[in-house]
Amino acid sequence: MANPRPRWNSYLAGVALGVVLFAAFLATGHGLGVTGATTGVTAVAANAIRPGLFAPGSYLAGYVRFGLNHWIEWEVLGVLIGGVAGSALGRRFAPRIDGPPRLAVWLKLPLAFIGGAASGFGARMAMGCTSGMGLSGSAPLAAAGFLFLIGFFVAGALAALPLTPLWRRR
């Protein structure tokens, strides 16, 4: 879209995010999350394609039984709506394939898929992602939230090092 509006000041965005996170705690007793919902959708979708795929007692069998009509699924639907609204109002909405500027387009999507797979595996291992554990865990000062963030930034910075040349702007 032409003439995108500037993005928000980081500190103002942070205060706004802290207030919304606080509102979620007041309303529900827990914070914001994302992979609770993606795990539910993955379990239900895979079970719909191949019924009985998850043996009783397996990790995802419980998510199939739990179903999708829960707060976290509605919250992630809200994230998508909020993202569409924000990018449209900010004139930042545009269909595109993003990623490292110096990587061939046909390699961008496979790399995004591999990154997503590492992220999905890691989030189940940590029982939460950057939102559900890093942010929502650290806000009530849980030690687990900060431990997650240390692992996230140290491993992320090391893994980003060899890929740095791909991100130089053209």
Binding site: A16, Y59, I72, G83, L111, A112, G116, M127
Partner: protein, 185 residues
């Protein structure tokens, strides 16, 4: 009335999510160059936004508790599963270095029109299935709880919450001051 209020329905979820997604997108977190710039130390928006949000929410939560308005025993505070929490965090970090996003930011990337955000979300599904397959062999050490349930930094350090929050605010101030020069996106 003492919080939390038990508003666990669709309207509560939608409203919280809309606010969350709107702010993430406004902060520029749908842009993979901006958020991975934090991992290359060329853009500090991720650290600024996250630490500001953590300090803001912590002040409100612990302030509310001090005023007797919030029942902390009914808040979800995650426990430490040392290797699961640390290595899981590492997996999410490596995922961002490779794929450009974390789960929440890939959702707002999709919402702003990015096809790679959708592919990242499909990758999360594949990683979730992979975890399901690995679960029987790794659960004994990955999900071994370390320390008491719902351990917080104030409990661990034996310091009052306001002191921990002040230290985080000082860290934010220091990081903000050291990186105050204008940074490219």
């Amino acid at each position: 009335m003492i919080a939390p209020f038990g508003f666990n329905g669709p309207v509560s979820g939608l409203l919280c999510g809309i606010g969350f997604g709107f702010i993430l997108e406004g902060a520029g977190f749908a842009d993979p160059a901006l958020i991975t710039g934090q991992l290359r130390f060329t853009n500090w928006a991720v650290l600024r936004v996250m630490l500001t949000a953590i300090v803001t929410c912590a002040v409100l939560l612990y302030g509310g508790q001090a005023l007797g308005l919030i029942d902390f025993s009914r808040l979800f505070i995650p426990s430490v599963y040392f290797w699961g929490t640390l290595l899981g965090g590492a997996g999410v970090g490596i995922g961002m270095a490779l794929g450009g996003y974390c789960p929440g930011t890939s959702a707002v990337a999709l919402a702003s029109g990015r096809l790679d955000g959708l592919v990242f979300l499909l990758g999360i599904g594949a990683g979730t299935l992979g975890f399901n397959a690995a679960y029987p062999t790794i659960k004994s050490w990955v999900y071994a709880q370390t320390g008491p349930s719902g351990l917080t930094l104030p409990q661990w350090l034996g310091a009052p919450a306001w002191m921990v929050i002040l230290a985080l605010a000082a860290l934010l101030g220091l990081a903000g001051w050291l990186t105050a020069r204008p940074t490219p996106p």
